[in-house]
Symmetry: C2
Subunit: 357 residues, 2 copies
């Protein structure tokens, strides 16, 4: 296996000293890039995800244009739902739509276990192709959805503003809820291990919508399941645990697992890191709308994030959520360069231990 | 003017001792009630809002069925946008749609000032009719949208998941943003004073979507404007300041104003109240999806909210957001009765001072 040359991201995950703060962006491959939009004129989103040559190309597009320290697999959170028995499609302007959403315990018990090495072989093939093309230039991040976020899509049938049906199942049929989340967690752990076997260097668990819950409900209904995913990975590669709107859940996300905890823009990074504890790394936390401009405010806000990280080992610069489609590419390029420029430090000795600084 | 007989709600706003914890529900008039749905078969939402006889009827419907301690004016946050020059309608299944959303400083400078006593005379007429019908049985709450939430509708043209265009104006043209919010705040203050002149006994300022901001942005872009609304009311009646997803903004909402701070379900009420300070009253904070059932969990969760309020004067029981359309009426009835039953206290001496308990 090729050794990764740029280890900033992986070193920061392990809270080792780095020569510059590593940067990558959620949704760094996507509609804000002209080369992505050209591919989307010819192919649907699902075609891009399911065709290894295309998914490889899209994964690599941002690396040719932006000075990021990691690639992230181009894929979709919902891909595992189809082999479980929940086919879906993307409706223009509306997002994902599950054909027949889960509504009952009976629906849940009909979900099928599947082997990602067979049913999602195209994802694993993409990983192998991306790794070959990268030639160790930067590490590759794999990912999965977390049980709450996947369950919310499966139950609501698409995006939701209030998660009413999800919570109705959760509060009303807790045994069915726990069976569903148990299956989703087992699937996610297996899927991440298959991605690691195929070559990803780190994994991110996306619990994007878990900010709809309070801490007590998170501990009762989510934490035990999400924890199983991190246990399944068992330290094989660094793990990132991400959510949005989680200002009141940071300790709970930490307790569920993840060497790196993702933080969105709603809370200052220093406050978040203190609450999470400095024995974990953190990732974040610029508001993605700042990338729309103006540049002066964008760079000031990025410097504020860096000042709050205070040069402490274990900060990965990122947004609080994905890049928006209307973002100018030049702003993304400038932001990555700026973060690298202002965090330039003497190169650390190889393999200096976590927390040594 | 008729004296209000049931003063629990108004006493709690002023942190006076009460014989039972007062209860009302956001969106207590609405689609979950059969009598409301029957009216909606014949009339659009805007017709209901604009016709004093109908708006009066809808305002009173929940009072005939549920043991609540306050009525809230049936109206819509967006009504003031039309006389400002931003007509809108409600699209079935999608919510409000502004015909021509604000996009530039030029659009903002074309907004018209208006006199709510003329352009929204039907709202004031509804207030007078409701007050006559109530005969002082319970107090009537009036309301307005806050600048951020109104601006987000005016700019996005409807609901938004990321407020990208709103923040683009905010970050990119801060002078235009402040002019817009200044106008919205002046309008809101004038509108609330007109409602108070017409007879409302308290007012709530809805900043429903302000949880999209962090504290620094709130202080820079929102707080000075929202504060002007509370200053305009000048203590004439009790004021409530409400938002959702504000776990990281409670101190900022408090500093902007409001004798009562609304708290959503994402943060435990005791933690929220400690951060807000016990020199303010609080309103909340049950997750509205709990009303979908099961009843045991609903009542347990309500008792948890009450335990966290700890009998301290100044708690108004409410949800963290509005009642959902699929809610069974019997659950709402039961919840109001239960809160009253378990918080029964000896009747306080009339006019006992704030904080005496």
């Amino acid at each position: 296996m090729t050794t990764v040359t740029n280890t900033r991201f992986l070193d920061a995950c392990r809270r080792r000293e780095v020569d510059r703060t590593p940067v990558w962006f959620m949704r760094q491959a996507g509609r804000y890039m002209a080369e992505y939009r050209r591919l989307r004129e010819k192919h649907s989103l699902l075609e891009l995800c399911r065709t290894p040559d295309l998914a490889t190309e899209v994964t690599l597009q941002p690396l040719r244009r932006i000075d990021v320290d990691a690639a992230i697999l181009f894929s979709d959170l919902l891909l595992p739902l189809e082999p479980m028995g929940l086919p879906f499609d993307f409706i223009a302007g509306e997002g994902p739509a599950i054909e027949t959403p889960l509504r009952s315990a009976w629906d849940i018990d009909r979900l099928r276990p599947f082997d990602p090495r067979e049913s999602l072989a195209h994802v694993l093939q993409t990983i192998r192709q991306v790794k070959r093309e990268l030639q160790g230039r930067v590490p590759l991040i794999g990912f999965t959805g977390a049980p709450f976020t996947l369950a919310s899509y499966a139950i609501e049938g698409g995006p939701s503003s209030n998660y009413a049906q999800t919570k109705t199942l959760m509060y009303g049929q807790p045994e069915a809820w726990h069976r569903l989340c148990g299956r989703l967690a087992a699937m996610a752990g297996d899927y991440l291990n298959a991605q690691i076997d195929a070559g990803v260097d780190a994994v991110q668990v996306f619990d994007s919508w878990v900010g709809a819950l309070n801490a007590a409900d998170y501990r009762e209904f989510v934490l035990p399941h999400t924890r199983r995913i991190f246990e399944a990975v068992g330290g094989r590669v660094p793990t990132i645990h991400f959510g949005t709107g989680t200002s009141m859940l940071l300790e709970e996300l930490r307790d569920a697992g993840g060497e790196v905890i993702g933080v969105d823009w709603r809370i200052p990074l220093d406050d978040a890191w203190t609450r999470i504890g400095h024995d974990r790394a953190v990732q974040g936390n610029l508001d993605p709308t700042l990338l729309l401009g103006p540049i002066e405010r964008l760079l000031d806000a990025a410097e504020d994030v860096l000042a709050r990280a205070d040069g402490r080992p274990g900060h990965i610069f990122n947004l609080g959520h994905g890049i928006l489609p209307s973002t100018p590419l030049e702003h993304v390029q400038l932001l990555a360069e700026h973060v690298h420029a202002v965090t330039r430090r003497p190169a650390p000795e190889s393999g200096s231990p976590a927390g040594a600084g």
